[in-house]
Symmetry: C2
Subunit: 556 residues, 2 copies
């Protein structure tokens, strides 16, 4: 496993239903004293005096599944659960919308799954499909449950009387390793940490580290077209999949285990990103690499976002082998600097400010770039040296390895911070898109301006951050975070105003409605630029899931 990754497998049962991640791990804002003045300044929130949110126990509606209809499942020895806790942890993903639906107790009664099933084999899955068809139930495939786009909402299709969450956590093994071809066949339900642990025992890595890594699964990554933070070095999940196997209501089939082919429309690329619409991805043959012997992660400061983005563009267009690249705009950098500040400025902080001033960087308004390298010792040194020279020429001011190490240590912890921010009365959301390089600054500005206008109408204070998270020679992914004063009583309506506006601006710009979060429910209104595109996706569904039992209401 990469040294950038510090975590242990956590089963979804150990996850909070009211927030991010493991129940045993909480974010304590008092470790980030610099946040309090930031909150005061931008949102008028006197953090320390804010009352903690009191979470009321949720009362779930009764399950639509009668005991008598469970006989088939029992006979087939398929594990199931109808407990409130299990149904609750499988009801929603982990978006701001999801958490507010639960915190405000406003999730409609028919949006909970009626039962959670735990298949152990493809045969179990086929049995479940037949059972759901018989009992008019929707099938909601469940990997790690970390969707932030409503991808696992327990929606019912037309005529369906209930919804079944199908949790793949029992299909979590590595099946075979082909060292000559550098591929490993694994089951879809395996979680990130377990996969990397088993690969690491063979000195192999997949190199796929999305922020959800600890709590998400291989099958989920494939079904949603996931992309990890090391994508500059390892690519997106589509680059990592040699072949895959899917169980649809019409039967199971798989793509060929070949590196490339000219065999008509790509079946692999049709099933990748299908978000449970066509079936459940049970097996994936992944392309693995040797664990890198050396890693180097360092940070640079730039006077402004345009300079930093241009330097990032040059790194990728010059094909300098980097693994990680993240550029925060001025607003995001301000927030990160605030988070890093101690209650009383340290000597190191003061020296840092003097250094920045000396290097002609305004410490109140600048940008940071995090850049990482992996590989053999001499390669990493050589690539770092080449990149360093380019970045210095482009106005980059080196800040050393310290901030990079801190980011690597905290990379999977950051989402935990959302929970105390929610307690403070904030709206906290993220969204992401991708566009060609020539449209970057226009899109960046237009999204920020549009979201701030929404906040103004809401009379809410608002900060919109952005970082560039994934890089290509021909374009880049933009990742936005929104912080705003929450409007009590209209939490969901307020969120929807931001979401709709962002979707509209992205759509109008011909940017992607999602770079790596997927479509689910939240993006489907702005996915199809042509009705023919929609017709194509729907026509495939009709072939593989003619009765429409699979994950209704998503994408289409």
């Amino acid at each position: 496993m990469s040294q950038f990754t510090e975590c242990e497998p956590v089963h979804e049962f150990q996850m909070k239903w009211w927030g991010w991640g493991s129940k045993t791990r909480l974010a304590d804002l008092s470790h980030y004293p610099g946040i309090f003045p930031y909150m005061k300044k931008h949102f008028g929130i006197n953090a320390k005096s804010q009352p903690e949110f009191q979470l009321k126990p949720l009362k779930l509606p009764p399950s639509a599944i009668s005991e008598s209809s469970l006989v088939t499942l029992s006979k087939a020895k398929i594990l199931f659960s109808v407990t409130d806790e299990c149904r609750l942890t499988h009801a929603l993903g982990k978006s701001y919308r999801d958490l507010m639906l639960l915190r405000t107790q406003s999730l409609e009664k028919d949006k909970f799954p009626d039962i959670v099933l735990f298949p152990k084999s493809e045969q179990d899955i086929m049995t479940i499909y037949a059972w759901c068809l018989e009992h008019k139930l929707a099938v909601i495939p469940f990997g790690g449950g970390t969707s932030v786009v409503g991808g696992i909402d327990s929606l019912r299709g037309p005529g369906q009387v209930g919804a079944v969450s199908v949790d793949l956590c029992s299909m979590n093994n590595i099946l075979s390793t082909d060292m000559a071809s550098m591929t490993v066949k694994a089951q879809g339900g395996i979680f990130g940490p377990q996969l990397e642990k088993l690969l690491g025992q063979q000195n192999l890595t997949l190199g796929h580290f999305p922020q959800s890594f600890e709590f998400s699964t291989l099958g989920g990554w494939v079904a949603t077209r996931s992309c990890g933070q090391n994508s500059c070095g390892y690519g997106g999940i589509e680059d990592m999949v040699q072949s895959l196997r899917i169980v649809t209501p019409k039967g199971a089939f798989e793509t060929l285990p070949v590196p490339r082919e000219a065999a008509g429309p790509s079946l692999k690329e049709i099933l990748l990103g299908s978000e449970g619409l066509y079936g459940i991805i049970t097996e994936v043959t992944i392309r693995v690499k040797k664990c890198p012997s050396s890693q180097h992660l360092c940070m640079y400061a730039f006077s402004d976002f345009a300079k930093a983005a241009n330097a990032g563009k040059m790194l990728v267009q010059h094909e300098i082998p980097i693994t990680i690249l993240r550029i925060s705009d001025e607003d995001e950098t301000e927030a990160f600097v605030a988070m890093a500040k101690k209650a009383i400025p340290t000597f190191k902080e003061k020296i840092g400010e003097i250094y920045l001033r000396w290097m002609k960087i305004d410490s109140q308004k600048f940008c940071t770039m995090l850049v990482g390298f992996e590989g053999g010792d001499s390669e990493v040194k050589a690539h770092y040296k080449t990149a360093h020279a380019l970045l210095r020429r482009s106005g980059g001011v080196p800040l050393g390895q310290g901030p990079g190490k801190k980011w690597a240590k905290d990379r999977f912890f950051l989402p935990y911070l959302r929970d105390p921010f929610l307690d403070l009365g904030l709206l906290v959301d993220t969204l992401e898109t991708s566009t060609q390089w020539s449209n970057l600054h226009h899109l960046h500005q237009e999204i920020k301006t549009a979201l701030k206008q929404i906040a103004e109408k809401q009379k809410a204070s608002c900060k919109v951050f952005c970082h560039l998270s994934h890089y290509y020679a021909n374009g880049v992914a933009l990742y936005f975070s929104i912080l705003a004063n929450r409007q009590d009583g209209r939490e969901l309506a307020q969120w929807m105003e931001f979401k709709q506006m962002a979707n509209q601006v992205i759509f109008k710009n011909n940017a992607s409605i999602s770079h790596h979060h997927g479509i689910g429910v939240d993006h489907k209104t702005h996915l199809f630029h042509s009705p023919l595109h929609r017709a194509v996706v729907a026509a495939i569904k009709t072939q593989l899931d003619p009765e429409g039992i699979m994950n209704p209401g998503k994408i289409l």
Copy 2:
């Protein structure tokens, strides 16, 4: 344009209908005196005494299009041709099967296009679709006409009374350049040399050089999932396409100009490789690169194929940046060595034999590897140095730059040699596949053995060569050439026996039925491993081409 490329644009009208390439260019075997003893030894052919094949003029069946029904086209100012020569040059591609169908005058009367149309705009294409629908005609999209899998066979669908070849050669411009994003938007009908010439004027290159480069088009490359000889450095056509636009009978639409997205099944990857089934690709936004300032191409000898293949695998798995890599097995090397021999052995040849012996390579049975590098001067030197060290450690014996330069000079001329071989009474065919590394040697042997058994049954002498032409960390493409004594009177049946056997072995091995030639007619019987795969491809067609006018009989 790459220095590896020496050619000028040639319009398809200047192509031979009875052989490969430009009418003004012929292969003269007397320039390859080493071929004659090779022919004598392996096929018992005394080449010099062989009578030249006398090509009889072909009499075409009358066109099914009545003059009165041409009025719509005339009104819309759409250029067309019903001359015998034009219909003949658009009737078939350039496979062995195609040439033998014409040489033996056995192409059925209803397999010629009835008319050739030359649209200049998307509006013209829509007019053509409406006209074909009205008159019950099949639409056969025509790029450069170099298909070797029957991809442009003028087949009629059920109820159709004729076939129309739609030649895109008038839609051949570059539309815009986005230097920041390193993308260029071009029309689908532009030919390779013209595209590279226009790109070269901006110091840009696409880097896509399939062997058909001189006579094939951008739209054709995209429609067939083409892959060029520089794929190690530039990737396949799917890596080079940022977005594309297609005109289907249901209307035109396009994919988003984004570098990557998580937006459901990939629309781009559905249209890529669709081989005219869904519509005509009118515009492609391609990802371009700066022209390399330096190139280096050199050759190595290996004692056997396994050692050479292993060295090639290590080059790609160690991610050493190479542009071209080609490994010929012992049989192919023998043929190339024969072709390079002079009538009387030169001093250089003799020295070469001594060198090989001294390096413990058996000059009668060895393998060659061609490896090429592109980039900045210092990069090329550094990458060559790294590769050279690895290849030396792996048993590679350097043969210098001479053979590489010769290959680069001849790379687009080699297909011309097929014509005089046909004149000599040989069957000459090629086929290609891809598989994971662990299956390479098994597949290589099984295909060679199976094809030789076919030849034995036919009582024909036979040589089967193979080279590895495209490389991936997780697998490789195998390209086979078959030479055999032709069976007069059963030319097509003999060919079909080879083809069916190769298809069966590839299918059984879960290898790709094509790495880069495509499916067309020749591979469709062995494309679908599951009826669900077929159903998916067909369902998309029903949405975009409900009347089934587009390229009937291909893929499905």
